[in-house]
Subunit: 235 residues, 4 copies
């Protein structure tokens, strides 16, 4: 009986938030489906987490998303909770951003979430239950000098989340957005910012804790948007 | 040794959020100090919650706040966590709001929080730890036709929270704001809105759960502002 | 026939925005009433601008506001347009702000505007016409580390403006807010920031131009909020 | 000498804002270039406005934008001012929006503006002068139930404007966003909303007036974002 546990699909698996979120929802009792561009990114986690399965998916590509979710439904059942952690972006001024950069950023952050929502919402509606938790950034709220491509993509994602939350809330589906306002603690960010103390960074386990909290709130008091900001951040 | 447990001061005790928050922080292991204009409001809770103490306080009055906190410090010790739940307001258009209404709303919601912060922040700084969790409302974010007096007071409160959060975060003190975007489930609101189903209302226990969550977040990923909104709310 | 021209009341007369706004509305054809704490502030302008009259008014004091507007009505007639330019504030962290500072800032910026609105709105309603243009600041939108007292006051003012705009718009009264996001060009700011080039500063005549524009917009396309920000500002 | 007058390029020509903006900038002394998907849309205006030229352009298509601007530069010279009025969107809930709808909305509103900026900014930088005025909508600020595709596209556009404004302001280029918060007065909207009075609608000439005002503000006090909202709007 593989379908007894709820399924949580984590999109965007890396050494930081994606892995921590997968571990957390597994610990919370979910079967976790791990989506990443290449199966290499999830190989270690699928060994570590009992029952976890990896799926290759290019989230900005409609056919790839459709195939990955068809496989998830077949192998694990309907998706109860999605944590959308895909998304990165170039940081550059207008002169150094190409139309391709601008489009790629939007495909991964905004269109990707749209495609995923189209896949998972029908079953959530039927169940009158479900969560879509999205990992946003400071750029979700405002454009800055060097976020020519990234901020518009994150703003589109946030606006879509807001539209979805208003549509789907009354159907029992919780859409929530986490605004990460700081630098995530990763080997590469530590390397790049050697002068910063340990507590400068956002811990992925703390982001995972917030995602888990949001996915389990009483439906009489749902949060739509919540920051994850290091205490010492200058904001 | 009365000071072994951390002290949580809840300001604004009524049958809804205030009581639920007091019960929740008591269950979380805090000694709770209950501040309300009259001791009658907290009488039942002080019987129900072991170790809880009630203090009379008019939060918009500097002398009253000073006296209440002096008593708290003497009887229970330094305050570790404040949940500021005071605040109500008239709902009326300009013609029906007096300068006294406008001032009272500001005194309770904004000046009251300022006075409380002045009392508790010094010890929090020394401890490099502490929480100030504030119960806001939709009106904290925007003015509407009938919030001539209430919205400016809640906006001042929110702005003060933001200023405080930026100042005190780096010192290890977490300032957070809960935006209640719905009608709290109370005997009087149920009575007034008899046609609404039970799940139209925000449950005080769910607000208390969010307040408790915010007060215990890992400091690498603090939330400043989070909504508590019923799933079916039209927003 | 002193009432043939429309009356514009400018509140807060100094060498910067207040004077420029008074000159601009006089040039636009209004009779200008100049309110300032002391008549000294408007003495020069009343000589310079034909028909201008100065009135002493402590805008945070209800009796003083009532008296000043009674005089304006008697001497000049009903007020068609108000430009509310009062407001200053201490810039300090929590430790260095007293309850008196916190209150004074609110009295001048928020309560003062409320008191003025109560005086002028009845006649504007009767005329189904009128403008209330308010001079805000960056602090109107957010709290910062050093705006413990100033930002809550400006946030209250902004929220009140929004509430008023929603209430009064349908009656033909335009409420608008100018967010000055920069340093106003004044002898004292030039002195304090000698290293800054001339174009670092916001020109009072440009603020006055925006205030005049807002007061004369076609009612099918009113602006509620508009920034006045120097082109080189880092925001 | 065809290049003596400044060139204003209006993108998105219809019977409403686009036409009014073209007429206004022509009256302001600019040579106007009119971009629309088909030359039919601008045929009448090019007859009416001396010196106006129409160019066919699919603004979401990189090659088409490149060609149109190459022609403009060749025939009229460098572009001094752009008014970006392209953009429409389907209004539907998630179930009724396809990935193609979602993408089309983004292409026209966000990518289109990016492509135009890439074309015009180099010459503006050289001139240390220029304007990019963008026509946004309520959806630029928030997502709603029926703006599944439209709001994310307008949010991306707004975020891009903000990023551009911060980057280009110090170079003397003014980027501004008009938020139209109402229904534009068009034959088709009048037909659809026959029960509404004339003053329910936003007049295109008033939007054009605001666009013109923003394009001519003193650079010491630029506005980034301004609403165009009918006085009676319920907001």
């Amino acid at each position: 009986m593989p379908h007894e546990k709820k399924v949580c699909t984590v999109i965007g698996i890396g050494p930081g938030n994606g892995s921590a979120i997968a571990r957390r929802f597994a610990a919370d009792g979910y079967t976790v489906a791990l989506l990443s561009r290449s199966l290499e990114s999830s190989a270690q986690l699928t060994k570590e987490i009992p029952g976890a399965k990896g799926f290759a998916c290019d989230v900005g590509n409609a056919a790839s998303v459709a195939q990955a979710f068809a496989e998830i439904r077949k192998e694990l059942g309907a998706v109860h909770t999605v944590v959308f952690n895909a998304g990165s972006g170039v940081f550059a001024a207008l002169d150094d951003v190409t139309a391709a950069d601008f489009e790629t950023s939007w495909r991964v952050n905004a269109l990707g979430l749209f495609l995923v929502a189209k896949e998972v919402v029908p079953a959530m509606k039927q169940a009158a239950s479900g969560n879509i938790v999205v990992i946003g950034a400071t750029a979700s709220r405002r454009g800055a000098k060097m976020t020519t491509a990234f901020a518009p993509a994150k703003a589109a994602q946030r606006s879509f989340c807001e539209s979805l939350a208003k549509q789907l809330g009354p159907m029992g589906i919780h859409v929530a957005l986490i605004i990460i306002d700081g630098v995530v603690d990763l080997p590469k960010t530590r390397e790049r910012m050697k002068d910063k103390p340990a507590d400068y960074f956002v811990k992925p386990t703390a982001v995972a804790d917030l995602a888990s909290y949001l996915a389990h709130q009483d439906k009489s008091a749902w949060t739509f948007e919540a920051e994850a900001r290091p205490f010492a951040e200058n904001w």
